[in-house]
Symmetry: C2
Subunit: 335 residues, 2 copies
């Protein structure tokens, strides 16, 4: 078990003293992003990383004090850049790390709930008061009406953790937990052969589905989850959700229509369909006839991809991926 | 020598009978795009491809007749899809192939000039009358005033070859020759580690330049042309031109400014610079102070990348690549 938050829950659940260290601020170049965790057991074991090795030793040592006293603290470090400028200029970065005792100021149930939400691929933000160490967990559906509503909503789109001042209160750290975004492509066509590797580079978990066994092969899609079956047979397994993008690329309603409808029903953050306007008109009519709502049909991105005048299949893949990222990062702000 | 047009020039220059076959139209799925060439020597040797192997034999056989008679002809083929639908539906495509005798209706000098332009990375379109086989070569700077001006200009952006009707004349085939687009990235930073492999997938030749030897390593940029030197020392070697995109990503004027100015002077189709608006204001002032024109400075894409709310370095890479493709395919139509 490598996940620091799962490990923190387990160790604390066993009644052990556990500290959690979190990168709450960075300047310049820093090896690990804001929100990165290191979990430390009272016996000195630790897991995770706040700096890629530069300052972990000191954090672990401070964590022993935090476990003993229960008082959270903020540590500041200058991080020498290991990959220093070899031609005369040294550059580096600084980080601030918050160290708290797990399940001390706050309940272990909060950590367990956060981990449960993560397992369920649901978004949430853990709000921690840096001065006191007290925390509260805000699920995505609880953001409306929160004192930090605007800030929380923006961070649920960007996925960025960070420090803010809660109105009339102390500085709080917002640890933003978004499910890893996924991209499911229906149609193992030429465009998909570019789209999937690009999407993997962009941080998406990718799955390709096509019942045509000659198209959906591991050779054509190295490193991808390749499913050479009819969409209707694998839809439950795909577990489409709000952090999944679905792009249908076969032009063939017998393959595309069902997963398209399923993506709309699952409120996937992106639903795109390849095809001319004429093809898409017919498709829209079929979906309406099959019971889809007008609101659903107009959500489909078609013609697919940002209008960058893409020519080759690989350029169309770029247009689609840019549209997927745009939809992910502007969730809830678009009509 | 694998290039069919270079081989055609060489063989014809040696006084041999040579035929050139060109895919002029496709329907459905076809293995090779419109504009693909197969060159056939009178002795039966051939190079290139019009169908990935399906119909080459028949084309070579017809080519012997064309070489003997000098009369061009159009061949039509149904192409069975090798990657056929394994679940019941057969799908396939059709292609039309134009076969002509090289340097017969037209001068060998035309072919030599086309090949010279290709070597110089200059765009041109070879216009061939399908009925007569007569050709004329239109360079990019000769498009204005041409009877096909609008069509030629659009195809010099899209890069797509194809058939059109010349006003009051026969059907003509436009063989569009664009130099392979290149992307030069200054700054071997995190964004570049995603941008370069994505750009390669999208069909760009990629080069990365950074004087910081720890950043610019083959390990960080597998398969890329990695140059760990100061831009000023390698600019002549980079041979920036109108089919090159330049993105500067270091934030450091000592590294970025010179190649930025060189990219503007070379009229690169895309010039982008990473940095906040404030950073870019200072950069713009430095460039003006150094003698750049206002028209040049406003051409710089900054903030870099399409506005897709990209968060991670890899997402910023997607935003940049989409902007590069957009600029390539809308060359000359933007302010």
């Amino acid at each position: 078990m490598d996940d620091p938050l799962l490990l923190a829950e387990r160790w604390a659940g066993e009644g052990q003293g556990v500290a959690l260290a979190t990168v709450i601020e960075t300047w310049g170049s820093s090896p690990r992003p804001v929100g990165s965790h290191l979990v430390i057991h009272a016996d000195g074991r630790f897991q995770g990383s706040v700096s890629g090795g530069c300052v972990e030793g000191e954090v672990v040592s401070e964590a022993a004090d935090v476990i003993a006293t229960g008082s959270p603290r903020v540590l500041a470090f200058g991080v020498a850049d290991e990959t220093a400028w070899r031609v005369g200029l040294s550059c580096g970065g600084r980080i601030r790390v918050f160290v708290e005792k797990v399940a001390w100021q706050w309940d272990l149930a909060t950590l367990a709930e956060l981990n449960a939400l993560r397992r369920q691929r649901r978004a949430a933000i853990l709000v921690t008061d840096i001065a006191t160490g007290s925390t509260r967990l805000v699920r995505e559906d609880e953001v409306a009406g929160d004192p930090l509503e605007g800030e929380l909503a923006a961070r649920l789109r960007s996925g960025r953790s960070g420090l803010v001042f809660e109105p009339g209160k102390d500085e709080v750290f917002l640890a933003v937990h978004l499910p890893p975004p996924r991209l499911v492509v229906i149609g193992a066509v030429h465009i998909a052969q570019s789209l999937l590797p690009m999407a993997r580079l962009a941080g998406f978990d990718v799955t390709i589905v096509d019942p045509r066994t000659a198209f959906a092969t591991p050779e054509r899609f190295p490193g991808c989850d390749v499913i050479a079956e009819w969409p209707q047979d694998v839809l439950p397994r795909l577990a489409l959700d709000r952090f999944t993008a679905v792009a249908v690329l076969t032009h063939d309603g017998r393959i595309d229509d069902l997963p398209l409808r399923a993506a709309l029903d699952a409120d996937c953050f992106y639903v795109g369909a390849l095809g001319s306007r004429k093809t898409h008109e017919k498709r829209g009519q079929r979906l309406l006839d099959a019971g889809a709502s007008v609101a659903q049909v107009v959500r489909i991105r078609a013609p697919i991809g940002l209008p960058i005048a893409a020519q080759s299949p690989a350029e169309i893949a770029v247009a689609i991926l840019a549209e997927v990222v745009d939809s992910l990062r502007k969730r809830g702000t678009q009509p």
